[in-house]
């Protein structure tokens, strides 16, 4: 009796091991197969931008830099200078960073450290306001910008975007402030620092990762913005890369995939860099950043 159970157990263990191995293999192949379209898509951007023709529209045949000539010469006289466009995009992205970080950090500190009646309401508000953005506000924002004379201006776009991002940014920053123990702040206050000094000299250095994360997010969301740019900016001198690539798609879609891929890749470059080197910030906002808020 005792022996048979032992044998049975050994058999079960072996069966479980075997099952586990099969499941793992299945998991790996599942991951690979589902990710294949993604890999192919991004691979195409690379290979197509550097080659003249493609075999099976994916494998490069003759390498060339011709597709990248848009860097120094616009593809047609109709297009504005690429570097001007690039500059506009940079202004948009950096403007987002400065405004969002500049306002959300002190606001989050206030929300985190000072008692006030509407705190729960604000958290709930973020979720409710989430049903507002996009189209709902786009129309009236168009009106607001028109009244303020900020249409066709990158500044208008980043002010709007920063305003819309604010609840989210404040929420994330609050999470970071929450995770700092009160004792640290008390010690500073007891030592004679003012509330502002405490915030500036003691608290800020501690939430640096949070500031980094929010900055990266603000930068990327400004850099990639599409709808607001397309809608609010028609003047070619104020184009950003979004409008540039958009009209490249419109004009050269069936004619010159090489040009399409090259401009697309150029536009994506900063994103790729951030993705490779600042990934921990991106993930921290989504997971770690709010863990403090719990």
């Amino acid at each position: 009796m005792g022996r048979s159970t032992r044998r049975l157990r050994a058999g079960t263990v072996r069966w479980i091991r075997w099952q586990e191995r099969v499941v793992k293999v299945l998991f790996y192949s599942f991951l690979f197969i589902t990710a294949l379209p993604l890999i192919v898509g991004y691979l195409w951007l690379f290979s197509n931008s550097f080659s003249e023709t493609l075999i099976y529209s994916l494998i490069p045949e003759r390498l060339t830099l011709k597709n990248w000539s848009f860097l120094w010469r616009p593809p047609s006289p109709y297009y504005p200078s690429l570097w001007r466009t690039f500059g506009n995009t940079l202004v948009l992205a950096l403007g987002m960073v400065v405004t969002v970080v500049g306002i959300s950090t002190p606001a989050a500190y206030a929300l985190s450290r000072m008692k006030f009646p509407g705190r729960f309401g604000l958290l709930a508000g973020t979720l409710i306001l989430h049903s507002f953005p996009g189209i709902t506000l786009l129309i009236s924002l168009y009106y607001v910008l028109r009244t303020l004379g900020l249409l066709n201006n990158v500044i208008g776009v980043f002010l709007v975007k920063a305003g819309l991002m604010m609840p989210f940014a404040i929420w994330v920053m609050k999470g970071f402030f929450d995770s700092i123990p009160w004792d640290v702040e008390c010690a500073a206050l007891v030592d004679g620092a003012t509330r502002f000094q405490t915030w500036y000299k003691v608290m800020l250095p501690q939430v640096k990762p949070g500031i980094g994360a929010v900055s990266v997010f603000a930068f990327l969301s400004g850099w990639s913005e599409y709808i607001y740019v397309i809608t609010f900016v028609q003047d070619k001198r104020s184009w950003t890369l979004s409008s540039y690539v958009n009209s490249i798609i419109g004009d050269y879609r069936f004619l010159d995939y090489g040009l399409l891929a090259a401009t697309g890749l150029f536009y994506m470059l900063p994103v790729l860099l951030f993705f490779l080197f600042a990934q921990k910030y991106l993930l921290r906002v989504s997971i770690g950043g709010t863990k403090g808020g719990r």
């Binding site: 951007l45 709930a124 979720l127 009236s140 920063a162 690539v245």
Partner: protein, 282 residues
Amino acid sequence: MVLVFYVVPAILTVTMALTNMDYRFQWNFIGLGNFRRMFNDFLLPGILRVTLLYVIGTLGIFNVTFGLILALVTTSVGERIGRFFRALWLLPRFTPPVVYGMIWLWILDPTKHGLLNSVRVAMGLRPVDWILNYPLGVIIIANGIIGASFGMLIFTAAIQSIPQELHWAARVDGAGLLQDIRYITLPQIRWPILFVTAYQTLSLLTSYEYILIITQGGPYFASTVWSLYAYKLCFGGYYAPYQFGYGSAMALILVGIGLIAAVTYWRVFRFRRMMAEPLIEV
């Protein structure tokens, strides 16, 4: 600033919905005329259908189900490989929408130069105009691939916060990997699943960026969702541009649905608990 760019526009939207404002930006109040017009809009039934299919399809297939599968699978395989694939799935979310749309336009190209069609041609079949034939499928898949990463991140965080002891106990009791997932992991992440469903429903209702780039809502109105229709009414060019009043009214309906959904979720699922879950910009 939140006041100028958030609260004021919100109020303006409500007011504009009661006017028949057009490109001249005059405030002619017509009461509930815009809402009455909706009942006579022959395009609306179709758009409503597309919107429902789009939201339910994307949410059910990708944002929740596929996101969950990705989270489960990437946490079950090795740490490094799991992280690599999670990063890969996150990439589309951070790709500029135009570039992401461009990749799709190439994949779906109706001539033999597109990815799918070059495969068909290699197999001796004729090229197919994917967008023309499967507009709804296209927008669901294109949006779903981006949406899946949201669920994936939240579920992963939730799965990783389950105490390891529970898994060990299950293994000692003789559970395999699949049983471990079924009886330990899934019951532990019930709340995140509800949260993702609720949050993403609202996101999907108001998202139309990728649809605008890839199919432009076409052919005709076959992939135009409610929010895109409102956009087209105001900025859509040839069809009926600059109908700011009517567009606002359409948008307002969307806000109404969003608010009702938010309050319902709140009541039914005790949102107060979910509020503690991570929030990510979508």
